[in-house]
């Protein structure tokens, strides 16, 4: 069973096989057009594969939106060292739940994408790093990999092409930070999951110090489609520099939450209406978190835009991981900020000072504030503390914590003011906590 009813308006490229039974079977995948792109790619020079990915305007679906073809071209494919291919399936960004569907409903599409990546950068060993909480998916992915081996789609001399590729599943242990690519590498190497200094970038020195290509599940899953139908066809689905479709995870106060595949450049408000069935209970839209909790929040009036990387950036936010959270008029934004900060304070790895101390300070401050013990001076301090983190932490987790907070204090300042002077939260109508 799918998690949500598909919507007829979707552009189903990556999800087109969703719902076909026994998706973990290689035969089923092959019967539905699978592994043809890989066979096609074995006949292409690696430069041509990378060129095709560049032409597709595919950008990383993990969050940062880095042009995928360009990243692939950074891997020194002639290096004498082994090269590793890693798939980031740590999917931990709040609001994001697409990678798990891609692995559950079309695991071979991911395997095929990684095989093509292997051809492109001359790698023969891959790891899928699955977050520990996805226990069931770990088993499913392992079944799919076993079946691919059994049918000659993994292992030595795949389908007589002379190409060898081994693929393993590696599980995380429950740390958001291990989705950050270099922390993920440390975690794969069996170390504590803290980020590494960059440069060197993983493409040059990644897993075990070797060149490593690291992409998100959705990014790899897009690749077979690009090779099969050509990069141009994929690019044409989206807007300039923003190729193809995206799986958007729509959650929050909508009537029909779910994961929907839409082309890049789809209008946001229309998406909420036509796919989400509008705001739940006919309430008014207050705000949208467009791409996971790390993104600056957009107010309702800022939402009349199309959804692609560049437009969101221009609007001061990000397309991020595709986790879109719709917030209705009855939501307390102080509480939203608190909820977000609780996550980051819990997930900060603790490596660097501003993130480690800043997230906890903000969490405590927002908690106190929401509990009714706020002071007027707290409001600017919340913003200043966030800004003291922004751009100054070791990795982007600190930014991810700072950005939504800054946007909420700036855009919803009056809601903070409404909590002052011991007044109850205007949304929860609960009395302020008694002063201890």
């Amino acid at each position: 069973m799918l998690y949500n009813e598909p919507n007829p308006l979707e552009t189903r490229v990556l999800t087109k096989r969703f719902g076909i039974p026994n998706s973990e079977k290689a035969e089923v995948y092959v019967a539905n057009g699978g592994y043809q792109a890989f066979l096609k790619a074995t006949g292409m020079p690696p430069e041509k594969i990378i060129e095709e990915v560049k032409v597709s305007n595919l950008r990383g679906r993990g969050g940062a939106g880095f042009p995928t073809g360009l990243k692939w071209s950074f891997v020194p494919r002639t290096s004498p060292k082994p090269k590793y291919l890693i798939c980031n399936a740590d999917e931990s960004e709040p609001g994001t739940c697409k990678d798990r569907l891609l692995m559950e409903y079309d695991p071979h599409q991911l395997i095929e994408g990684m095989l093509i990546g292997g051809l492109a950068v001359d790698s023969h060993k891959g790891y899928i790093y699955i977050r520990g909480e996805y226990r069931y998916l770990i088993t499913m992915m392992e079944h799919a990999i076993d079946d691919a081996y059994a049918h000659g789609w993994l292992g030595k001399n795949i389908q007589g092409t002379g190409f060898d590729f081994d693929l393993y599943v590696h599980t995380g242990a429950g740390a958001y930070e291990c989705g950050e690519e270099t922390a993920l590498l440390d975690s794969i190497e069996g170390k504590r999951g803290v980020p590494r200094m960059k440069p060197p970038f993983p493409a040059v020195a990644g897993a075990w110090g070797c060149p490593t290509l690291l992409n998100n599940v959705e990014t790899y899953s897009a690749v077979p489609n690009i090779i099969r139908d050509g990069g141009a066809a994929f690019a044409a689905l989206g807007t300039p520099k923003n190729g193809g479709t995206r799986l958007v995870c729509l959650s929050g106060h909508v009537n029909k939450p779910g994961v929907y595949e839409i082309p890049l450049g789809y209008p946001m408000l229309e998406f909420i209406e036509k796919f989400g069935g509008g705001v739940r209970g006919g309430k008014k839209l207050k705000a949208v978190i467009p791409g996971g909790s790390s993104c600056p929040v957009l107010t309702a009036s800022e939402c009349d835009i199309i959804m692609d990387y560049d437009t969101l950036a221009k609007a001061g936010s990000m397309l991020g991981s595709g986790g879109m959270v719709v917030i209705d008029e009855d939501t307390c934004m102080v509480k939203a900020a608190l909820r977000i900060m609780r996550f980051y304070a819990h997930e900060s790895c603790g490596w660097c000072v501003p993130c480690r101390e800043g997230t906890t300070w903000l969490r405590k401050m927002l908690q106190r504030f929401h509990d009714g013990m706020g002071q007027a001076s707290d409001i600017p301090i919340i913003g200043q503390v966030s800004k003291n983190m922004l751009g100054r932490t070791f990795c982007a987790l600190g930014d991810a914590a700072a950005m939504p907070t800054i946007s909420i204090v700036e855009k919803f300042r009056e809601e903070f003011e409404a909590h002052l002077d011991g007044r109850p939260c205007p949304y929860e109508h609960k009395p302020a906590m008694a002063l201890a």
């Binding site: 900060s348 603790g350 480690r356 997230t359 300070w361 100054r392």
Partner: protein
């Protein structure tokens, strides 16, 4: 690529070699970029974010501690944004910091305190509850107070990289991230205290020092550690004539900031309750306290009588007394007592090595060579246990210069971990085992060879021949036991060699021969405990002992003089590499006298004139008369180390070869003296034999 990079920092033009980190490059222009986690010589962390600066053409503030300089780079360290960032970082660090400076050991020399004053906000904006975690004791030496910790990872790195152990790690994440010891709730490690020393705040404190004083209440005296022969400089913190702390934070001296447990904490024998503080004279079979004049008269009377009837004297000197004392002692023995029966506990065959290398320059290694030379060969020594500072140098050499280390030992040693190759041998197979390394050693551009007492006599010459056959420049060092083991040899505490390894006319008895001599009439033991290991054959010799404690030897004495330790006197000592350094008296223990003064008083009592017994005067005599010791005084007087010159001339072998047997102290032993160090006795790892530390 050009070999110099030009950049501009705060408007000043700066040059630096490529690869220089910005944080270091700016120092040349007198600019400070504050840092907590950056630590010279250790791996980069970029974790504290204190060193953020503005670099033109980059959107974000840049981390100066990991940023290599680049041609044309324009840097600003003094802008409102940079100041604000620093303020922010200090503020973050203080949010969960207990601010218990008034009771914190580190107060007054805390980097967080300094930074707060220099770069912080004047007031706190943090209204929330601070996180509290109880303090923990990890060992007799190491205590950890998590709330004070700023997670700079210096302790982890110094243990990991510097000590070659991984005794510290980190557990939990985020604000709960916490340093933990290797045994979960306690440490099993070298107990060197390097982690405590390097901690910028008061999170790690030492069981020896905590809550005893404040740094500004101490007098700080730079002197040389009295334990092993590496000769580390240690700066003793003294209050009310008591040594409270040892460290070398200012990195002065040949050891930089390094100290092992002995150098850092084992000064505590100085105020041990059993310390002798009055002369003892045997009356009716029992040692009883006596005045100095009584004791001196008693000795002079007996020695004069023995001398007059042509009796036999034996003199055993110390491996911890100063060069001046050793020089004076052999002079006393030879000129006043008229005997060459003088020796000490020898631990390495320096005379044969000097003879084998006679006439060569640049063939004697310095302690710095262990850090600087491209390759090091260790033969027959557990360096990390026996020669802690040399082992530190070797590890740093591997880390910083990719030096190649070769090990030939009977069993596994910690150096194996960093070694390019290790070979094992069974006793007697030392030299043969080196053949397995020959090809690799030949390929090295240069080599330092350190050897223990497994190589002695002819084997030393064979080792030098082996070195010569490699066709690369080789430097040597014979590993020794104690702080002035080398000085005892150089100053002629030997039956067949006088100061500077000159042959004496009629060689006297060796230590073993004296003890075995049934007709010995008098035995004079200075700062040594031969009867701890050997029995005295003579039935009723007149025994005089100078020592800090009532040792096994002192128990046999007719007269015991309470001696001052190395921390209570001035003079010079020579480490195993022949590097001469100066002692500075830190304290005075009531009732004791430096051995030199005791010698002088005894000479006077005997009516002999050996000149005045002032260390500086005797050192002048040594400089003028002892081969190799004509070293520049300014180096010494400014607290430096000067290596003695190589010999040019034959060093005669002893008339009868005797087995040299070193003490092979571990990190937690230091001969008889070590038994009086509470620290060395209470650490879990003691007695060292139980502790492998590999």
């Amino acid at each position: 690529m050009s070999d110099i990079v030009h950049l501009t920092v705060d408007g000043k033009a700066i040059e630096a070699p490529p690869g220089t980190l910005l944080i270091n490059a700016v120092k040349r222009a007198g600019i400070e970029i504050p840092a907590f986690c950056y630590y010279d010589g250790l791996k980069l962390q970029a974790a504290c974010r204190m060193c953020l600066v503005e670099v033109e053409k980059t959107p974000k503030l840049q981390v100066a501690c990991t940023l290599p300089v680049a041609e044309g780079m324009v840097v600003h360290t003094d802008t409102p944004t940079v100041h604000e960032a620093r303020k922010g970082m200090v503020e973050f660090l203080l949010t969960n910091h207990p601010l218990d400076c008034p009771v914190c050991d580190k107060g007054g020399e805390c980097e967080l305190q300094d930074m707060t004053f220099r770069y912080g906000f004047g007031e706190s904006r943090f209204l929330e509850q601070k996180q509290h975690i109880d303090e923990k004791q990890w060992s007799a030496v190491v205590y950890f107070d998590r709330p004070r910790c700023i997670n700079c990872y210096r302790c982890i790195r110094v243990c990991d990289e510097g000590m070659g152990l991984t005794a510290l790690g980190i557990t939990n994440r985020g604000v709960l991230a916490e340093i933990i010891p290797n045994e979960h709730d306690h440490l099993n490690c070298d107990e060197c205290g390097m982690c405590i020393d390097i901690c910028p705040v008061g999170a790690l404190t030492s069981g020896m020092y905590r809550y005893k004083t404040r740094p500004w209440e101490m007098k700080h005296v730079g002197t040389i550690c009295t334990h092993c022969s590496n000769g580390c400089k240690t700066t003793l913190g003294v209050r009310n004539d008591e040594i409270i702390r040892g460290n070398n934070r200012d990195r002065s001296g040949l050891n930089g900031e390094f100290l092992c447990i002995k150098g850092r904490y084992a000064f505590d024998f100085t105020h041990h309750a059993e310390r002798l503080q009055s002369p003892l004279v045997r009356r009716n079979g029992k040692l009883e306290a006596a005045s100095w004049s009584e004791a001196l008269a008693e000795v002079a009377k007996n020695w004069t009588a023995i001398k007059q009837r042509g009796g036999r004297f034996g003199v055993i000197g110390s491996t911890r007394t100063t060069n001046e004392e050793n020089f004076f002692l052999q002079k006393f023995a030879r000129q006043v007592l008229g005997t060459n029966n003088i020796d000490h506990h020898r631990s390495g065959d320096v005379p044969t090595l000097l003879d084998a290398l006679s006439g060569r320059t640049d063939a004697l290694a310095t302690t710095a060579d262990f850090y600087e030379r491209k390759a090091v060969l260790i033969v027959g020594a557990d360096l990390s246990q026996e020669q802690p500072f040399l082992a530190w140098q070797v590890r740093a050499n591997v880390r910083h210069h990719n030096a190649h280390i070769y090990v030939a030992t009977p069993g596994p040693v910690r150096e194996d971990r960093v070694a390019a190759a290790s070979v094992r041998y069974q006793e007697g197979g030392e030299l043969a085992s080196l053949e397995n390394l020959r090809e690799k050693l030949r390929a090295e551009p240069e080599l330092v060879v350190a050897f223990g007492d497994a190589i002695q006599g002819d084997a030393v010459r064979q080792l030098v021949n082996f070195g010569d056959s490699l066709g690369v420049p080789v430097k040597y060092v014979a590993l020794l036991d104690y702080s002035n083991s080398r000085g005892a040899l150089d100053m002629g505490l030997l039956p067949h060699l006088g100061p500077g390894y000159h042959a004496v006319d009629t060689p006297g008895m060796s230590l073993a021969a004296m003890l075995a001599d049934e007709s010995l009439d008098a035995l004079w033991v200075v700062g040594a405990n031969p009867l701890g290991r050997h029995v005295l054959a003579a039935s009723k010799p007149f025994v005089v002992v100078q020592d800090l404690f009532l040792t096994d030897t002192a128990e046999h004495a007719a007269v015991v003089f309470p001696a001052a330790s190395a921390y209570e006197k001035s003079g010079t000592v020579t480490n195993l590499c022949g590097e001469v350094q100066r002692l500075e008296a830190a304290i005075k223990v009531a009732g004791t006298k430096p051995d030199l003064e005791i010698f002088g008083l005894l000479a006077r009592e005997m009516g002999a004139n050996l000149g005045i017994w002032q260390a500086s005067k005797i050192f002048e005599e040594i400089r003028g008369s002892v081969r190799g010791y004509n070293i520049p005084l300014p180096i010494l007087t400014t607290g430096g180390a000067a290596q003695t010159a190589a010999l040019n001339g034959h060093v005669p072998a002893p008339p009868r070869a005797e087995r040299i047997q070193a003490a092979h102290n571990t990190l937690f032993t230091s001969g008889s003296l070590g038994q009086f160090s509470r620290t060395l006795q209470v650490v879990l790892e003691a007695p060292g034999a139980l502790y492998q530390g590999r």
